[in-house]
Symmetry: C2
Subunit: 200 residues, 2 copies
């Protein structure tokens, strides 16, 4: 890397800070930028600056947006009476990608994690409770991750909401579609067996 | 991807244009930029612009530099009587990394490739011949790639320089250090056998 000019080394170092980008990939990216047209490079640089300037959290669901309220919350055709609770904005994007959910979201931005000193009030749980207390919500779908912290956070939310007359559901766990049963871990298989349902 | 705000989608698209970066990686990179500090993002954007502004080819060796003449050509401690001929600036960096060469370089920026209509005058061969004709060069090390075009380009340069009283050498081909003989391809093994030398 030291055999490249300082300006290029600077860019290589910047690229290498990105997640999953090692020195060799950073060099390849930097050389690509160097060989691309000035317009293309400017466009990339400008996009980076714009993201930092414009992207913020939606005032309603705390998902990502470049407006005060995100496209999903603004969408009048979605069902406002059902809220899907996710840990991170990536999870929201993944659920949206599936097209299986047409309600609203609530992004917690974390999980309860006593080991790391993160309690319910450090993530967006109070905001969720406030939403529910307003009375128009009929169902909360808990779509936190299936690890210890995700399950704990889900349980905590379910407990907090128990006094309200709403449905509280959890996305199903089980064998991923297309996977080979012989490679499924025991816990997943146990869950798939426990959650078995009538053949459709 | 369409579930992210337009500003973010714009950056994802820009990242996805880079070599070896698919949509998933582009999303990860864009989210990282979004989460990083404004200073870090600005630094990345600025580095991209600077590379396009400042990086140019060295007037002497045609390697990359941000000055008129590169650091290697400016280095008084290097041997100016020996020139290593490489195809690309990456090859130069790779040889420098090894620390095995202390002479000067000449970057061809391509190979002779009749299939693609690239002749000797389309790459920096005339400039190399001019350098040699000035008389102070004692050795040319041909370090083009070991594929058909690289070998052809090397042979052509060797032929052009045959009339000069200088040494013309070729970097050795053979079994890579640390590799397992049973996985070596036949051509490499044949070359390694042909080029065998006295045991040191």
């Amino acid at each position: 890397m030291t055999n490249y000019p300082p300006t290029l080394v600077q860019l290589i170092k910047q690229f290498a800070k990105l997640p999953g980008i090692g020195e060799k990939t950073a060099i390849r990216l930097a050389l690509h930028v160097m060989r691309s047209s000035k317009d293309e490079a400017d466009m990339l640089a400008k996009s980076i600056c714009l993201v930092k300037e414009k992207i913020r959290l939606c005032e309603q669901c705390y998902g990502l947006t470049d407006q005060p309220v995100c496209q999903i919350c603004q969408n009048a055709s979605r069902d406002n009476s059902i809220i899907c609770v996710v840990e991170q904005t990536d999870d929201l994007a993944s659920i949206e990608q599936s097209g299986a959910f047409k309600g609203q979201y609530h992004v917690l931005h974390g999980t309860i994690s006593p080991m790391n000193g993160i309690g319910p009030d450090d993530i967006r749980i109070p905001e969720l409770l406030t939403k529910v207390s307003k009375g128009s919500i009929k169902e909360i779908v808990i779509a936190t991750n299936t690890n210890v912290e995700g399950e704990m956070t889900g349980s905590y939310i379910a407990k907090c909401l128990a006094s309200y007359d709403i449905k509280i559901s959890r996305i199903a766990s089980g064998v991923p579609i297309g996977s080979d049963l012989k490679y499924i871990d025991q816990l997943t298989m146990k869950r798939a067996m426990e959650n078995r349902h009538t053949f459709e």
